[in-house]
Symmetry: C2
């Protein structure tokens, strides 16, 4: 890791800084103190300073942060100054929904959609024709693909992920409800929707157990 | 909070335990030691014991865990033994993709889909007719809704969320790329897809910066 020992918790918070700074920028704000930023983001000013100090700090005592500069620098830390080519494997509802998302604005450029189901042959999403999965190897030999979004069911996901790694893929955005267990040098980010709902369910019970329905 | 001081990190791990135990159960495994479970889940046995001890512990020294019992108990902790009625507001691609998901198996029962766009009038997803948002208040007065899934754009999301809270909603699963800033007694679980991709982008750069393309 080039950046040394930055904790995952800090990394998880960076996109939120990026989002708030982007909004400030849109609203024409040039400079902001950690106190003002802290009030907007509802985190302590000291957490903001600590988080940003992981990357060398970006503020001058008494002057606050230059919004445009900080936005750009956090973008660089997040790797958003580089365009990543992405494909989606799994053209079901979720895959198609993601294909329609505008991930280009965070530097992810969708260049292909794949599925095994022949009913998708000839179907296009945002101008990108869904291709059959058996053409993937040829596609990968002709195109540089940085990230694969995996929106396939649990059962094929693990084997498919290992196959992708054999084909040279180094990053997977995984929506399949399973761990992929790939080698350490492969980046995997899981989005487990079921599990997100379960934590909401936990919190709901914890906060409102007294009001539970008895039907 | 009924359960006292359980940390968010533990809560975030519970659904993964639930998933692994569910798979073991399906495979007919009756009993498992923390060591075996640890090898499967790739976390330390001591973390498993610590996590489960937050809820009183479920194992007997030397006997391991009863898989079915532990699965059921974690399910209860997560509130999965209660059915939650859910509606989706925002019938775009993502909203429809989520409507097609089978969240019933974790206890979330979809009873309505809403949008403001008249082009959805008469459209059904999984047998549920998309309704116009101006009928929401009537709907809420006739149906108990526990959770609202919010798949609307950023701009209307915050006002809409506050309106939902005024109407008595206590839990929101938020896919809009914004913080909702609701009162403390409302449960909000954010799924910020852009930000998930950004952390993948960060990790990719950290691991593969030496191999960056120079096109």
């Amino acid at each position: 890791m080039r950046k040394g020992e930055i904790s995952k918790a800090v990394i998880r918070r960076l996109p939120r800084y990026y989002r708030y700074l982007g909004e400030l920028l849109q609203n024409g704000v040039v400079r902001i103190s950690s106190k003002e930023l802290s009030e907007r983001m509802k985190v302590t000013a000291s957490q903001i300073r600590q988080d940003l100090n992981n990357f060398g700090g970006f503020g001058q005592q008494g002057y606050g942060y230059n919004v445009e500069y900080l936005h750009e620098e956090i973008g660089k830390i997040l790797g958003l100054d580089v365009t990543h080519n992405m494909i989606i494997i799994g053209a079901g509802n979720l895959g198609q929904a993601l294909a329609n998302y505008n991930f280009e604005k965070v530097g992810f450029h969708l260049i292909g959609i794949f599925d095994i189901n022949p009913r998708f042959e000839g179907v296009s999403v945002r101008g990108i024709a869904i291709q059959m999965l058996d053409t993937l190897e040829d596609f990968l030999s002709e195109h540089k693909v940085d990230v694969v979004t995996l929106t396939v069911p649990k059962r094929p996901a693990v084997d498919l992920a290992h196959h992708l790694v054999d084909l040279g893929i180094k990053a997977i955005w995984n929506f399949a409800p399973t761990d992929l267990n790939l080698s350490e040098d492969v980046c995997v980010k899981n989005v487990h929707l079921n599990e997100s709902l379960m934590t909401l369910s936990y919190e709901y019970r914890a906060k409102h157990s007294g009001e539970a329905r008895d039907e």
